[in-house]
Amino acid sequence: MAPAKFDGMKDDDMVEIHSNLGREKHPPTKGFLVAPLIFVFGCLIFVCSIQLAHSTNSFQVHPPQEIVELTEEEKEALRLERKLDSGKKIFTSKCASCHQPNGLGIATQYPPLAGSEWVSANPELITKIILKGLKGEITVKGEKYGTSPAANMVAVPINDREIANVSTYVRNAWGNSASEVFESDVADIRTNTAGQNEQWIGEALQSEYLSGASTE
């Protein structure tokens, strides 16, 4: 051992002494008690393991998605809500320019949809009109429409599902309350009327579907 002098240790001695220290075999109890040390290290490793088990999320990239079980009614409500949302979007982009976002139409030009007997009648009626369009004079809520050819409605080029969605929306918006329109029914009507290229005539449809109503 080098003497503890103020002028320190020479480098040569330092290498020599520490190499010897490194070679020396140390009984594990030398210097401190082994039991508390093992206890402390053990506790640390235990705490680390708990921390890992709690916070690594099983080494997955994303946290797990919560799985929600829905009842049949909830599923049905969710389906209808989505259908109405989709219908609203289609209405806004395809129909609202004439029939107005509030469904009231424009007096003497475009008939209203809110509270209209045409809308809440047999779902075939609204489907047929969307599929092929409409011309000629009609009576809606006691008012005459379609007197000028400029107000004729042309066919709306959208598919069966979209027709079902938008009709369902119209039949249930602004205080209307009528049955849901289904995609399969729309498809049937489309095949049945496949040969027709003309718009529907207003009077014909009116007498076919609304004759029972007291519109006169």
């Binding site: 330092m14 705490v47 990239v61």
Partner: protein, 470 residues
């Protein structure tokens, strides 16, 4: 006159060490200036605001790079050349190439910092210097590190001791980190989150695997060299060494706590940070059990006082760092100025203090000239005061910041910013004190290295100046 083995080694390394220490000193001053600018901008946003080169983002980054690569790199070269040569009892090899690569290294950093200030920044932590600079730095670093390893390979004794492991490991780990990060960020850029993780990992590992092991190695050398006592419980040192090697690169990722990364990354980081208690405890036991047997030497010997300040600061704030890595605490401190506490503690409170001690121990032996005790003592006390002020301001300010930022009802500007502004003012004062102390340090070492810088102007005193240099 017959020279001792040590004097021959010192003579062989004199010019290389002088070069690196002199340039390290200049970088230290540059970093101090930039640090003051950055701190002043936080208290007064209009400070230097008319200069495009000195926006906060650029100055802050330039300061970190000047400090780590300029001051850190050069002083690591100087001190490891000397300690490795001394412990190997071998003369320094490749002096000419060392100085040439040293010039390239410094020119590279100068260009890199100009690039940062010019806006050609690279968006990766601690790799911000423009990407064209890096091959230059890497090659010059490799040459310097190779010659230090060549010197070590020609050692007289086969066995190696703790300071050699730590210093050589830090010399090798920097290029290893760099190659991994450069490959993953520039050559084959990783996609998505991984790039951010890699960039952050490099920035933090640089401190933990380059600056830290080097400073620990220097402490392992200086404490026995000055006190004359062998390291106490030396058999633990090898355990501490491998713990740092294995745990540190894992532990740094705890800084990503709460970030948009897979949850296991910060979780592993936290666990490894807790496990870092082992190497911290080992180093602390080794250093302090040895040094505090002779409290008089610690107090009276200035280099040792610097080193012990550094090791104490390392121990205390590493334990604080472990606490801050726990998720419950990290939630508060994650996005506060406490991050500044960690960086400044590492580079000012720990690394720089130990390097100051090493330089004060080394220079009189290399040049044969003493530094006045008063100047060294002034440097120590101003450094200690500056570091303590800086770290306490960042620590307390960071906690205030973190706690207040958790309360969404508080108005950000009038409550949160207003309550941490005084701490920014304290850091600004601390940076002035640190700048002053670093100026004293640089004057101290330059006066020893170049005692008569204007001798070429004064031919009559030529002879005496020549004698002084030789």
């Amino acid at each position: 006159m017959k020279f001792t083995a040590e004097q021959i080694i010192d003579k062989s390394a004199k010019w290389v060490i002088s070069f690196f220490i002199a340039s390290a000193g200049l970088w230290l001053l540059a970093a101090a200036l930039l640090a003051y600018c950055a701190a002043a901008k936080l208290t007064d946003p209009f400070f230097l605001s008319t200069f495009e080169f000195f926006t906060y983002g650029k100055v802050k980054i330039a300061q970190a790079n000047a400090f780590v690569y300029g001051w850190g790199g050069n002083s690591i070269f100087a001190v490891s050349i000397w300690i490795i040569a001394r412990l190997a009892q071998a003369e320094l090899r490749g002096r000419f190439l060392l100085i040439a690569s040293g010039i390239i290294w410094n020119v590279g950093i100068t260009l890199g910092l100009l690039g940062i200030l010019d806006g050609h920044m690279n968006a990766h932590e601690m790799l911000e210097m423009p990407r064209e600079i890096w091959p230059l730095l890497f090659i010059s670093y490799s040459v310097i590190a190779s010659f230090i390893i060549v010197t070590h390979r020609s050692r007289s004794k086969h066995e190696t001791i703790a300071p050699q492991w730590f210093i050589l490991a830090s010399l090798l780990w920097f290029p290893a980190l760099f190659i991994i990060a450069w490959n993953g960020l520039e050559i084959n850029p990783a996609r998505g989150t991984l790039q951010a993780v890699l960039s952050m990992w490099f920035g933090q590992s640089l401190i933990w695997l380059w600056l830290t092991p080097f400073a620990l190695g220097v402490a392992y050398y200086l404490i026995p060299a000055i006190t004359g006592r062998p390291i106490d419980k030396y058999y633990l040192a090898i355990f501490g060494f491998w713990c740092i090697a294995l745990l540190a690169p894992w532990s740094v990722v705890h800084h990503l706590e709460g970030g948009p990364v897979p949850m296991w990354i910060p979780a592993i980081g936290t666990v490894m940070s807790i496990a870092m208690i082992f190497p911290i405890a080992v180093a602390s036991t080794n250093f302090h059990a040895t040094a505090f047997k002779d409290i008089d030497i610690v107090w009276n010997n200035l280099p040792l006082r610097f080193v012990i300040f550094g090791t104490l600061s390392y121990t205390i704030s590493s334990y604080i760092g472990v606490v801050f890595s726990l998720p419950a605490v990290a939630k508060l401190t994650q996005f506060s100025i406490i991050n500044e506490f960690h960086f400044n503690q590492r580079v000012y409170g720990f690394f720089s203090m130990i390097v100051f001690g090493a330089v004060y121990h080394m220079l009189p032996r290399v040049t044969g000239k003493d530094i006045p005790v008063g100047a060294k003592s002034f440097h120590f006390w101003t450094s200690a005061l500056g570091v303590l002020m800086l770290l306490l301001a960042y620590l307390i300010g960071g906690l205030t910041h973190g706690v207040l930022a958790q309360q969404p009802s508080l108005d950000w500007a009038s409550s949160v910013i207003a309550s941490i502004r005084p701490y920014f003012l304290i850091t600004q004062i601390a940076f002035v004190i640190l700048g002053l102390s670093q100026l004293v340090f640089v004057i101290n070492i330059w006066k020893v290295l170049f005692p008569n810088p204007f001798q070429f102007l004064n031919n009559s005193s030529n002879d005496s100046a020549k004698n002084a240099v030789a």
